[in-house]
């Protein structure tokens, strides 16, 4: 019996146990004790019909008012599930900030399943239910946080809509190496190690070439689950982080439209019912303007980007929601337009993603059922659009089915998936050994996970995912575990939490990290080592409420294996070999949040150290051996301070960010060395240009800091609302170094002081 067969048997056994776990309590109820009842439902906005993720749901016994209520929060689809041996009269309270609390009286004990449709009307929230899932930057639990649209609005962005990209860069876990290029590094992980999902479909490179923007503006995002690490068994195929974005549904009841313009981009958006109360549509299109506006601001910024999004949703308040979402993004530009060599290359990438998804609460069974079909493609190229010097594309088709149900103190979930990756690349010799090829990878697998409440304020989340590949890769078994403990009860001010898990990634985006000006990503099956790249995450944290403050501190460690990195070379050349690197990441995030009335402040500090180890000869000579270095995204210290004020039609926000210097290769010189075989004529042979340095990334760029401000106000104009925003990026005009071209001894800076004025007009909002 081979290893794969054994593992399949183990997985089969787990599936059977899981199925028994789901089914047994339904069929084996004691006759005299209360039956297990699942109270479940959808929570929606009464006016728009849109799902409300993160609403708090509590079930209070009228017979025993002092008993601890069953509580939960709605998920990204506005769904809640409560399970227990309920008997008698209960009140169900559903609350969400900015909405009136809904209270309903239920008589439970006679039915297995009670399905409710709860509609919340905008208004004043009552304080009866502890609202745990409101979000906020300090509401982090073992790397996970919920990000709401209003969180995005607090970050000064040169557009009237906030953006997920700008928000993420305010978090201590996330590093951006510059204000262009479209890559975010999460806790030492690289951009292609981040799993970004749009309604369940993978989006390979969703961050735009101008770093403030992504495919996820505030106006289109319903909710985002962000895992900086330690994510659960449901998510597979990436090493570093998960950004699970749920896009907003269109308004089910009325038509609304908006248009905006700012120096960076223009956008239009419309939404409304196709079948009132049942089917809605929302669409958006955005295109950048900075290339045209830049010269007027004294900036040559030949950067173009944009995106188009549409979503059709069919909602049934009793049984579920189905949606079809489509997203297209494009980015194009030279990262360093002033360069005179290959760094002047024009980079392009585009994403096309489509997701069909249904979330159902079947009438007769106490399950939540979710199915999703996704199709996603990314295209990268460098050079002439018709004849690119290098290109890479990746297409993934995924089909998934998920099931969840609740028991008293236990929520069980599981699912199956199949994923087909089609990779196509023409690399022009950039990475030695990978010139041009097509690859097809088929994988399938499943996962099981549980959330178990054993009492004592403890919540345990074990999980296990299994992936098998029809090809060269080994069967992958990835155990995950998360926990949260509130030692003074669920109403207490303290929560301890942690996570540990194993992660593997087969399809990797490989970049030439020697050159910060090159943002080309080649999507390849892991090109080094014997199998998939691997990461082991471990983290532990504490969240403490102190009066109006929330303090969250979290320490983390990662072990990385078989990452593909370019070898060190003294020769200044475009091509490079890839070599396996093992690595480690250690860090600490601290977040302090304060909110009172219209005022909000947040301070986040991140401490991180990332190291890669490769087997190679040192560049100063000596025997071959293991060499250790800090990769170019290893930002040791990062500090973000944010303050915002929001009152009626007036909003103001200010953000200051500081990042310690990123590693760069500090040479002590360069020359052209002349090979002596065959004997050259030194007057006719130029030789081979080379950089003289002792080790790569041995220097640090200067620290980076920047102050951004924005003020906006909304006026009633005609039938709609006109919002006016003024602000500035880099208020004190700090010359922040983006990167240094050591071959031409030339610095490339990030954006200087850039004032902006934005206008937005909304109808039917």
């Amino acid at each position: 019996m081979n290893g794969r067969g054994s593992l399949w048997k183990i997985f089969g056994l787990l599936v059977v146990l899981f199925a028994l776990g789901l089914a047994a309590p339904v069929s084996a109820q004691p006759t005299r004790t209360p039956i297990t009842t699942t109270v479940r439902g959808f929570v929606t906005d009464a006016e728009s019909g849109q799902a409300l993720p993160g609403a708090t749901v509590g079930l209070f016994s009228l017979a025993a008012p002092d008993a601890t209520p069953a509580q939960t929060v709605t998920d990204n689809d506005g769904i809640f599930l409560l399970g227990g041996r309920f008997s008698g009269r209960y009140t169900l309270q559903v609350s969400y900030v900015g909405y009136e609390t809904a209270i309903d009286t239920l008589l439970l004990g006679s039915r297995d399943v009670v399905t409710l449709a709860v509609q919340l009307a905008p208004g004043q929230t009552l304080g009866e239910v502890q609202v745990e899932a409101e979000g906020g930057a300090a509401q982090v639990e073992a790397g996970r946080q919920s990000i709401r649209p209003q969180d995005l609005a607090r970050i000064p962005t040169p557009d009237l809509s906030g953006d997920l990209a700008s928000y993420l860069q305010a978090l201590p876990s996330v590093v951006a190496v510059g204000d262009r290029g479209g890559g975010l590094y999460v806790r030492g992980g690289t951009p292609p190690q981040n799993l970004v999902l749009m309604d369940g479909a993978v989006v390979f490179q969703p961050f735009h070439i101008v770093g403030f923007f992504s495919a996820f503006p505030e106006d289109l995002v319903a909710n985002t689950e962000f895992y900086a690490g330690g994510f659960g068994a449901r998510y597979t195929g990436r090493l570093s982080s998960v950004l699970d974005v749920t896009m907003r549904d269109g308004n089910l009841n009325r038509v609304a439209a908006a248009g905006s313009v700012s120096p960076f981009l223009a956008s239009v958006q419309a939404e409304g019912p196709l079948v009132p109360g049942r089917v809605s549509v929302i669409g958006s299109a955005r295109a950048s303007l900075i290339e045209q506006v830049g010269p007027a601001l004294g900036q040559d910024l030949p950067l173009r980007f944009g995106d188009v999004f549409a979503k059709v949703t069919r909602a049934d308040p009793q049984s579920g929601r189905c949606s079809l979402s489509g997203l297209y993004t494009f980015d194009e530009g030279a990262i360093d337009p002033q360069a005179t060599d290959v760094r002047r290359d024009v980079f392009r990438w585009s994403n096309a993603a489509m997701s069909g998804r249904c979330v159902l609460l079947p009438r007769s069974v106490p399950f939540e059922f979710e199915t999703q079909l996704g199709l996603s493609n990314v295209r990268n190229s460098v050079g002439d659009p018709d004849r690119p010097q290098r290109s890479s594309s990746a297409t993934v088709v995924n089909a998934e089915a998920h099931l969840a149900r609740v028991q008293p103190r236990l929520r069980l979930g599981g699912g199956l998936f199949t994923r087909l990756d089609f990779l196509n690349y023409e690399l022009g010799g950039q990475f030695v050994g990978f010139r041009a090829n097509e690859e097809l990878l088929l994988a399938s697998g499943g996962y099981i996970e549980a959330i178990w409440d054993p009492g004592y304020g403890l919540e345990l989340h074990p999980g296990l995912s299994v992936t098998t590949y029809y090809g060269d890769y080994a069967f992958s078994l990835e155990p995950r575990f998360r926990f949260a403990w509130q030692p003074w009860g669920t109403d207490g001010p303290t929560q301890l939490n942690g996570a540990i898990g194993l992660y593997r990634q087969t399809v990797n985006g490989v970049s030439d990290e020697r050159d910060a000006g090159s943002v080309f990503l080649a999507w390849l099956p892991n090109p080094v080592g014997d199998g998939q790249a691997e990461a082991l995450h471990a983290m532990v944290g504490v969240q403490q409420k102190i009066g109006p403050f929330t303090l969250a501190v979290e320490g983390y460690a990662k072990r990385l294996d078989d990452l593909a990195v370019p070898i060190w070379s003294a020769i200044a050349r475009f091509t490079t070999e890839l070599t396996p690197a093992d690595g480690s990441v250690y860090g600490l995030d601290a977040r302090l949040e304060w909110q009172r009335g219209p005022f909000y402040t947040f301070v986040g500090y991140g401490l991180s150290q990332t190291e890669y180890t490769i087997f190679q000869a040192p560049l100063t000579g000596g025997p071959e051996g293991f060499q250790t270095y800090n990769p170019p995204h290893d930002r040791r210290h990062q500090l973000n301070a944010l303050a915002s004020f929001e009152l009626s039609d007036f909003e103001a926000s200010v953000r200051w960010q500081y990042g310690s210097g990123l590693p760069f290769t500090r040479p002590f010189g360069f020359d052209s060395f002349v090979p002596f075989f065959p004997l050259p004529d030194v007057t006719e042979t130029f030789g081979i240009p080379r950089v003289l340095y002792r080790e790569p990334f041995n220097g640090r760029l200067p620290a980076y800091h920047r102050l951004d401000v924005s003020v906006s106000r909304t006026f009633e104009v005609g039938p709609g609302d006109l919002s006016v925003q003024v602000g500035a990026i880099n208020v004190y005009d700090r010359a922040n170094l983006f990167y240094f071209d050591i071959f031409t001894v030339r610095r490339v800076d990030q954006l200087p002081l850039l004032p902006f004025l934005g206008l937005k007009y909304e109808l039917g909002a």
Partner: protein, 287 residues
């Protein structure tokens, strides 16, 4: 208290704004200023040494701030080399320092690159001795009883301490082109200290043209032998990969700098007799 808070805030902002222009030195501190590449050829009438000033853009034509001298350590004479700007095809340029001072065989020399800031780089080397002309045998025996003319050639080099290069440049008539082949790795050192090479130039050319199976029938007009000999100090450059050689400390004899400068004797000869061997072989090929 509010006044004090405001003051602290202003001081905080001012402190950061003072450093708005971040000073940045991209170079690591080092007392290494130059790299030197080249050789002294006892058979040449002009000597060239390439001098790179580190910490300036590769390929730029800014003058190299150095005084370069050549000192005959046996006779105690010193000459100052003159600089010349070399321009190459791809728009880059470099500086070489040259002298028409004759270089004697079997003599120690010192080359010194002296910078104004006192960071010097120097090389001490010894030139090789003169050797007799190599014996070149075409192996052509037109009156032999062999069915086909013999094809093997041989070369014998005596009194050389170390061979550092051996190439033959073939000027072909069919196809019309020049082809240079290296033979250094095929040279045998015999017990009496003689270097010998046996080869088939016709087959070598045919193979190099991609016709190793006999499909190509090259014709030859003339051939030129390029021979370089040196002293024992000369490194075995062919043993290193380009990547290894790019590591500045892999091979260097420059004190206070990087690079390599050695002493060589370069000999070049026309080998006209080879064309006859090619002629016979071509007949065979065509026949």
């Amino acid at each position: 208290m509010p006044i004090r808070r405001s003051f602290l805030l202003a001081a905080f902002v001012a402190w950061f704004c003072v450093g708005c222009e971040a000073s940045f030195d991209p170079f690591e501190e080092s007392d290494v200023t130059f790299s030197l590449f080249g050789y002294l050829d006892v058979a040449a009438d002009t000597q060239y040494v390439r001098v790179n000033e580190l910490q300036r853009t590769v390929g730029s034509d800014a003058p190299v701030a150095a005084t370069v001298t050549l000192e005959d350590l046996e006779r105690g004479t010193t000459v100052t080399l003159q600089d010349t700007l070399l321009r190459f095809g791809n728009g880059v340029s470099a500086y070489a320092f040259w002298t028409a001072q004759p270089v004697a065989p079997s003599t120690p020399y010192r080359i010194l690159a002296d910078s104004p800031d006192g960071n010097d780089a120097s090389v001490t080397l010894r030139t090789p001795a003169l050797i007799p002309n190599p014996m070149l045998e075409t192996g052509l025996s037109p009156f032999s009883s062999a069915e086909f003319p013999p094809t093997s050639q041989s070369m014998t080099i005596t009194d050389a301490v170390k061979l550092v290069d051996l190439r033959i440049t073939y000027r072909l008539t069919e196809p019309t082109r020049t082809l240079t082949l290296s033979y250094l790795d095929r040279v045998q050192l015999t017990p009496d200290g003689t270097f010998s090479l046996a080869f088939s130039s016709y087959n070598d050319v045919q193979r190099a043209l991609g016709g190793g199976d006999g499909t190509a029938c090259p014709g030859l007009s003339s051939a030129r032998v390029f021979l370089g000999v040196s002293t024992e100090e000369w490194p075995d450059f062919p043993l290193f990969t380009t990547e290894e050689l790019a590591i500045p400390t892999t091979v260097t004899n420059v004190e206070g700098g990087f690079g390599y400068v050695g002493g060589v004797l370069i000999m070049e000869y026309e080998w006209t007799a080879l064309s006859g061997a090619f002629f016979f072989n071509q007949q065979s090929c065509l026949g």
